[in-house]
C-alpha cells in the first residue's frame, strides 16, 4: 500500500474535500477561527518492509515530544478545516537481547510536520468532542544517535568464558548527530492521520483541549540508493494538550 502513497493520499484528500463540500459549505452558519497552542508526548514505532531477521536484534518504540499550533476554521456547526503545524520527534531504538543485552542505539529524529485536517464534532454543554482526519507532510530536520555497542577493536583481557558480550569487547558509548544524507535518507514524509479532540470551554473565547493522534507514514525514510533495501516507516501515536482561542465568533 505504501508504494502507492501518492495515489492513496490524493484519494483521501479528495474524499475529505468532497465530504466538506457536500456537508459543509451549503450549511454554513458559523464562521469561526480557532488558534491554539499545544504540547504533547508521542511514541513512535518503526514499521519495516522487506525486513531481514537478525538474531537477538529488534526495533523498539521510543517516546518523544511534540509542540505546535492549531489553526482551525469552522465551516459550519459540525465541520471545520485546519492545520496543525508542529515540531515533533519520531524516535525509535535498535536493541539486542540475550548474550548481547545492553547493546542499543536510540535514534531521535526531529520533524517539522504540517497536517491538514478535517474535524467534525458534537457538543454537550461546555464539552466538544471531535473526530479529526487528514493527511500530513513532514520534513526531517535532524537526527541524533545515542548508543552503547561492543567495540571489536577494544577487547577485554579476559581470554574466554564470556557470559555477556561486554565481558568480551569493551563497551563503546556514543551520542552524536547523524549527518542526514541526500543519497540515503528521504527527508520528506507524507502520511495520513486520525485523531480525536476533546475541548472544554471554560471562558467565552477560551478552551482547553486534549487531542490524541495517530500518524501513519506512507513514505519511508530510506531512499532507493540500492536494490533490496529494508524500508522504514514511522507510525506515531501522540497525545497533546493545549489552549485554544476562538477568534471572531460571529454569526453569519
Amino acid at each position: 500500500m505504501k508504494n502507492n502513497s501518492w495515489t492513496i493520499t490524493a484519494a483521501f484528500i479528495r474524499i475529505l474535500t468532497g465530504y466538506a463540500i457536500v456537508l459543509g459549505f451549503p450549511q454554513s452558519t458559523i464562521a469561526q477561527l480557532q488558534v491554539g497552542l499545544q504540547v504533547g508526548i508521542d511514541q513512535n514505532y518503526l514499521a519495516l518492509k522487506n525486513k531481514t531477521v537478525r538474531d537477538f536484534t529488534y526495533y523498539e518504540e521510543k517516546n518523544g515530544y511534540m509542540a505546535g499550533l492549531m489553526l482551525r476554521y469552522s465551516l459550519n456547526r459540525y465541520l471545520s478545516l485546519g492545520v496543525e503545524p508542529a515540531w515533533i520527534t519520531k524516535n525509535y531504538q535498535l536493541k539486542r537481547r540475550g548474550y548481547y543485552s545492553g547493546v542499543f542505539q536510540a535514534t531521535e529524529n526531529t520533524y517539522l510536520q504540517l497536517p491538514l485536517v478535517f474535524n467534525t464534532s458534537v457538543s454537550y454543554r461546555r464539552f466538544v468532542l471531535g473526530l479529526t482526519a487528514g493527511g500530513y507532510t513532514a520534513f526531517w530536520l535532524r537526527s541524533k544517535n545515542k548508543g552503547k555497542i561492543p567495540n571489536i577493536s577494544d577487547l577485554s583481557a579476559q581470554p574466554d568464558g564470556f557470559e555477556q558480550v561486554f565481558e568480551d569487547m569493551q563497551a563503546f558509548r556514543y551520542e552524536e548527530n547523524y549527518q542526514l544524507s541526500s543519497k540515503r535518507d528521504r527527508r520528506h514524509e507524507w502520511g495520513l492521520l486520525l485523531g480525536l479532540d476533546l475541548h472544554y470551554q471554560f471562558a467565552p473565547s477560551l478552551a482547553v483541549f486534549v487531542a490524541p493522534r495517530y500518524y501513519y507514514a506512507l513514505t519511508g525514510q530510506v531512499r532507493h540508493y540500492a536494490a533490496g533495501l529494508e524500508q522504514r516507516f514511522n507510525e506515531t501515536s501522540a497525545i497533546s494538550a493545549g489552549l485554544v482561542l476562538n477568534i471572531h465568533p460571529t454569526r453569519k
Binding site: T52, I152, D154, P159, G228
Partner: protein
C-alpha cells in the same frame, strides 16, 4: 515448506546476503545492484543438477566478486568435486603486484633460524585449530637482539593451554623483553597468516604502559548496505604491571603478512621506537567475527557456498584505509631468496638495531 534449491534461489540468497552483510560497500566500486540485474537472469537459466552449470555458477560468482575490496573475502564451495574449493579475489590481485613472489618455502624459517640465531634457540609448535597451526621460533642474534618469529596468531590460547615447549618459548620471549643485555626486538611477521585479535593485548600489551590507540573500526548496525556504526577507536591495553619497551623494535613484513600480522605492525608503528622493514603487506585489515556478533560479515548459502568476509572495516590512525592496498614498510627491502639463505630483510633489521 522449504522451497527446492535451484540456482535462482541460490543467487537471491547470495546476492541478498552480500547486500546486507558486506561491510565495505561505501568504499567499494562494485555496483552490487547492477549485478543483480545482469547475473540474476543468467543464474535462473542454470540447472543445479548439471555439473557444467554448477561450474558456470562458480564462474559467475567469481566474476561478480572479483573487484571486492575486502581482502578477507573468500568463497568456499561445498561441492567436493570443485577445485580449488576456495576462491579469493585478493589472492588473485596479489599475483598482479609487480613485486609478486611466492611464499617462503615451508622449511625456510628453520634454515634462517639455524643460520642467524645463537645456539640454542627455541622452536615450538602448537595446534590451536586447523587454520592456526603455530610454528614459533625465538632466540637471540649476536647475543644482542631478541628475535621472535610467528607464523600465525593464537599466542594467548597457546600460552594458556600448552604446558610444554610453546609455553616455555613464550615465557622466554616475555622474560627477555626485560633483559638489560639485549638492545632490541625483531618481530618476524613475514608469511604470517593472522589469527586472534586478542593477541594484540596479550603481546603488544607487554610493550606499553598506557593504552595505545592505533586506528578505528566500524561495522554494520542495520540491514541496509550503508547502515554503519560510528567509528570506534582501536585500542590496545597494557597488561598489568607492564613497562613501556624503550629499545628498538623492528617488524619484518612481506606481502604474506596478513590481517592480524598487519594490525600488529600498524599498532607497533605508532610507537616511536618501531621500524617496519620489508614489503607492503597483503591488505586484509578488517576484523573477523561471527556474523551474529556484529550484524555483518560471513554467511552461508546452504548446500552451495560459504562466504567468508570481514565483519568490521579498519581505518588506521592516519585516517587512511589500507584494505586491499596493504600497509607500507618504513624501510623497503625487496624479497630475495638466495641459495645460501642470505636474508636481506632480516639483515637490514639487524643492521637497524646493531649498526
Amino acid at each position: 515448506m522449504e522451497k527446492d534449491l535451484d540456482f535462482g534461489l541460490i543467487f537471491e540468497k547470495f546476492w541478498d546476503g552480500m547486500n546486507r552483510n558486506y561491510v565495505m560497500w561505501d568504499i567499494d566500486s562494485t555496483d552490487w545492484s547492477k549485478l543483480r540485474q545482469s547475473y540474476g537472469p543468467a543464474f535462473s537459466r542454470l540447472d543445479i543438477k548439471d555439473p557444467k552449470d554448477r561450474l558456470m555458477a562458480v564462474g559467475y560468482l567469481q566474476q561478480m566478486t572479483a573487484g571486492l575490496k575486502d581482502a578477507h573475502f573468500m568463497l568456499e564451495f561445498d561441492d567436493p568435486q570443485l577445485w580449488p574449493r576456495q576462491q579469493s579475489p585478493a589472492d588473485e590481485r596479489l599475483k598482479l603486484r609487480t613485486d609478486y613472489h611466492r611464499p617462503f618455502a615451508a622449511d625456510y624459517f628453520d634454515r634462517i633460524a639455524r643460520k642467524y640465531l645463537d645456539q640454542p634457540f627455541y622452536d615450538a609448535y602448537y595446534h590451536t585449530d586447523l587454520t592456526h597451526q603455530l610454528a614459533y621460533k625465538a632466540g637471540t642474534i649476536k647475543q644482542q637482539i631478541l628475535y621472535f618469529r610467528m607464523n600465525a596468531f593464537a599466542i594467548q590460547r597457546a600460552y594458556q593451554h600448552d604446558q610444554g615447549r610453546m609455553k616455555t618459548l613464550l615465557d622466554y620471549v616475555f622474560t627477555s623483553l626485560a633483559d638489560p643485555h639485549l638492545k632490541g626486538l625483531i618481530l618476524d611477521l613475514r608469511d604470517n597468516t593472522g589469527g586472534d585479535l586478542r593477541d594484540l593485548n596479550f603481546l603488544i600489551g607487554r610493550l606499553i604502559d598506557k593504552p595505545l590507540t592505533y586506528g578505528y573500526s566500524r561495522y554494520k548496525l542495520g540491514n541496509n548496505p550503508l547502515d554503519y556504526s560510528p567509528w570506534m577507536p582501536a585500542i590496545i591495553r597494557p597488561i598489568p604491571n607492564s613497562r613501556a619497551y624503550a629499545k628498538k623494535i623492528v617488524v619484518l613484513l612481506n606481502m604474506y603478512s596478513i590481517s592480524m600480522a598487519e594490525l600488529t605492525a600498524m599498532a607497533l608503528n605508532r610507537l616511536p621506537n618501531t621500524t617496519l622493514v620489508g614489503e607492503r603487506t597483503y591488505g586484509a585489515n578488517g576484523m573477523l567475527a561471527e556474523a551474529v556478533e556484529l550484524n555483518g560479515g560471513s554467511f552461508a548459502v546452504p548446500d552451495f557456498v560459504r562466504v567468508n568476509m570481514a565483519s568490521a572495516l579498519f581505518k588506521y590512525a592516519d585516517q587512511q584505509i589500507y584494505e586491499s592496498i596493504g600497509f607500507p614498510p618504513t624501510v623497503v627491502v625487496p624479497h630475495k631468496q638466495t641459495a645460501t639463505d642470505t636474508d636481506g630483510q632480516l639483515e637490514a633489521a639487524i643492521q637497524l638495531i646493531t649498526p
